[in-house]
């Protein structure tokens, strides 16, 4: 199969990559671009660790073709915050002890971000958080502190929207 050039908009930057048409977005991110913040596991959209944002919505990058993403905006964990300026979700996950091994965490944070963006200021209930994030599995935490972190981040984003905009 011949490769051809594909332009992908990732974290606000344009990336020109040579891809084979059957490559998943995950493969391009991790293999071609060295962006290993997005994780790899089941490769069948069953675990959610590969979650990225496509036009702001959480999607499984393992079964999305890179080709399908051309012309759309992709956000990975690398584009969310950095050690000096953590996004409120990232800070809340640390504060609430929601991070153990951490392998599901990039996917979990982006799943949460997609959900909180849709909430538009509404502070979600625990049941709503659990339903919205149920497509991302965690084996370490039992989920409880993750739920607490997401609700705490929602509160923070709601109280200080200006500050949140600077980091989101």
């Amino acid at each position: 199969m011949t490769r051809h050039a594909l332009d992908l908009l990732i974290n606000g930057e344009s990336h020109d990559v040579m891809v084979e048409p059957h490559w998943s977005l995950l493969r391009v991110l991790r293999g071609e671009l060295g962006m290993t913040g997005t994780k790899e596991n089941c490769l069948e959209a069953e675990c959610g660790v590969c979650t990225v944002l496509l036009d702001g919505k959480a999607v499984n990058s393992c079964i999305l073709l890179a080709e399908q993403c051309s012309g759309h905006s992709i956000v990975t964990i690398e584009g969310l915050g950095d050690p000096e300026h953590l996004h409120p979700l990232q800070a809340a996950f640390i504060e609430h002890g929601a991070v153990q091994c951490g392998y599901c965490i990039p996917g979990m944070i982006l799943t949460a971000k997609s959900f909180l963006d849709e909430c538009r200021g509404h502070i979600p209930s625990e049941a709503e958080v659990r339903e919205a994030l149920s497509g991302t599995l965690c084996r370490c935490t039992g989920y409880q502190k993750i739920v607490d972190a997401v609700i705490a981040a929602a509160r923070q984003l709601n109280s200080w929207p200006e500050e949140a905009k600077r980091t989101s």
């Binding site: 959209a45 999607v59 499984n60």
Partner: protein, 282 residues
Amino acid sequence: MGFSFHRPETIDAAIAFARDHGEAARFIAGGTDLIIQINRRRLAPRHLISLAGLGLDTIVETETGYMIGAMATHDAVVTYPGFQKQLIALTEASAVIGGRQVRNIATVGGNIVNASPAADLVPVLLALEATVELRGSAGVRSLPLDRFLVERGRTDRRSDEILTAVRFDKPPAASATSFLKAGRRKAMEISVICVAAHLVHNGKARIAIGAAASRTMRMPEAEALVEKQGAGAFRAAGRIAAERTTPIDDVRSSARYRKLLVATLVERALAACADRIAKGGP
């Protein structure tokens, strides 16, 4: 595993490409099922024809009914304002397909064309007596969804036909729908059994069952019983439905347990409809 990826700019161009390449080409909607089948080496198309960007993703309310474009995502169905009352079963079913990440990409058309007997949205559409619209090199045609579904993995679609939309009538105000699903966990489940019911006050009853046979099935005997005898027949309707299904033993469940679930969920779905009618909404 290699294939070429094509982005036709019009529906006609997509159809023409499919006609020219026959079985070597497949349409790709969201791809959430197709890509997994290709990765598992169950399918090996040489060309994928993307249906994105062809304007097939809208949901439109007409005077008499609704049209859901085949490329509308499950997430779009879940959040569509017009589906929150009498038609709420559409959102109840769409909301339990995979996880949110899948629902943001996977489409209504894909769910139908896949023809999995466990598809969650299909029973609701069958209970609403939906029709599907197909467009191919031989032109446009419509047929009832019930005739479009053949068996597991097979529909009446020809290889160059695109499922473009699914349509159903607006139900009357004094009516309700409901959808129930059984699985081993509360999310990320392929249905062990799923049931959709549509009841019109003093009118018709429609019941459809998924994962209990080689395709999603309507239950005409159970429907007739309910139309004749009303709420008193809900339990009997469930029993008849269970008797008419032909579920299998598999790693998810035994056939015996599936029959128990059919009987129970049919009764409960009908009761939920009756309750919603009485309360004037869900």
